[in-house]
Symmetry: C2
DNA sequence: GTCTATACGAAGATAGAC
DNA sequence: GTCTATCTTCGTATAGAC
């Protein structure tokens, strides 16, 4: 009879395999795009067993991609908790730092997984979820700016512009493999912070 | 003996087939991304004969994609000639209109072909060409703003921010299949026009 | 320049044993 | 939950006739 402890270990390992697959998918989507991300790559990178794909993701690739962008989107929202109560400038700086890190640490090979999916899918379901992620970012950023004393309308307007411009700036710097475009946009965004 | 006229007609038809393939590739890249754009789709959409792909593009898919983003990028630069001598606000409005048209006319199914390639390729050659296109847009826009009386440094800084924010805004509105995100970013960009 | 046919590989997905 | 094997489809690319 299998002990409770063994079962718990098995659950953790299983959860871990699923989690690793999702994390690998996030990275690959950010580097190679939607159709450029194959199951075989996800498995190789995550070390997960081939047989477990359709166990964890019976909905196939779309389900894995969905889980990946959701995880990536939620993590970004959570990371923003660190600037709760900070100044307006500090919030903008922090958000730009997140993207700067992605570019620098990947040596310009990675961008935003959610954007990559958005520009390469027809699935209304994936688009809906991508849109929800962007709205969640905007809502969280706006909330932070309001806490910093910005009026709600300005906060919301600036938040979405910050998101759009950051996404674009990351892509421009990826193309050029140089931080210059990103930094130029970042400077402009900081200078116009509410 | 084949007449000069027949030869000229043949040249035009050939050129036209090549041109149609490039145009189809631009549209498909903007809608489905890099790997989502297959030769079979390009042929179907352009009506070009299957046997002529490797005749016109011996370098294969990369060469076709390269020609497509170059054509798309150059057309954008040329279209900007229409606002030569216009006011700063008119220039910004015009550039935003270009992207608004892409979204509306495609019913949110299309975005920017150059961006789609940028986020989905490892090819340094394609990345270099994408970067060159973005720089050409920036240079042309900055030039126009300077003509409108803006100082060169501000013009350059605003131009690249406008490009980055527009690219991001198009993606956000595509995800949501609604002009709202784009219009919110557009309003902010217009309000901060130099 | 264009056609058909086909090679070749990769990718998503499924089946059934363990 | 995981493994191996396999099916099917599709994509790029090439060969050779016309």
């Amino acid at each position: 009879m299998t002990s409770v402890i063994v079962k718990e270990v098995e659950r953790i390992v299983a959860t871990d395999a699923r989690r690793k697959m999702i994390e690998s998918a996030v990275t690959l989507l950010a580097m190679r795009g939607l159709q450029g991300t194959a199951f075989s790559d996800v498995l190789e990178r995550s070390g997960a067993p081939r047989g477990s794909i359709y166990h964890h993701f019976p909905g196939g690739k779309d389900q894995l991609v969905d889980a990946a962008i959701t995880a990536s989107g939620q993590r970004t929202v959570q990371i923003l908790d660190a600037v709760e109560g900070a100044s307006s400038i500090a919030i903008t700086t922090y958000f730009l730092d997140l993207w700067r890190d992605v570019l620098v640490r990947s040596k310009f090979r990675a961008g935003c997984a959610v954007l990559a999916v958005t520009v390469a899918t027809d699935s209304t379901e994936l688009l809906d979820h991508a849109a929800a992620i962007f709205r969640a970012w905007q809502a969280r950023l706006a909330e932070l700016y309001v806490s910093a004393g910005v009026d709600p309308t300005t906060a919301s307007s600036y938040a979405i512009t910050l998101i759009a411009a950051s996404e674009g700036a990351v892509a421009l710097s990826r193309a050029q493999r140089d931080m210059a475009p990103f930094e130029e946009v970042a400077a402009h965004l900081l200078a116009t912070t509410p």
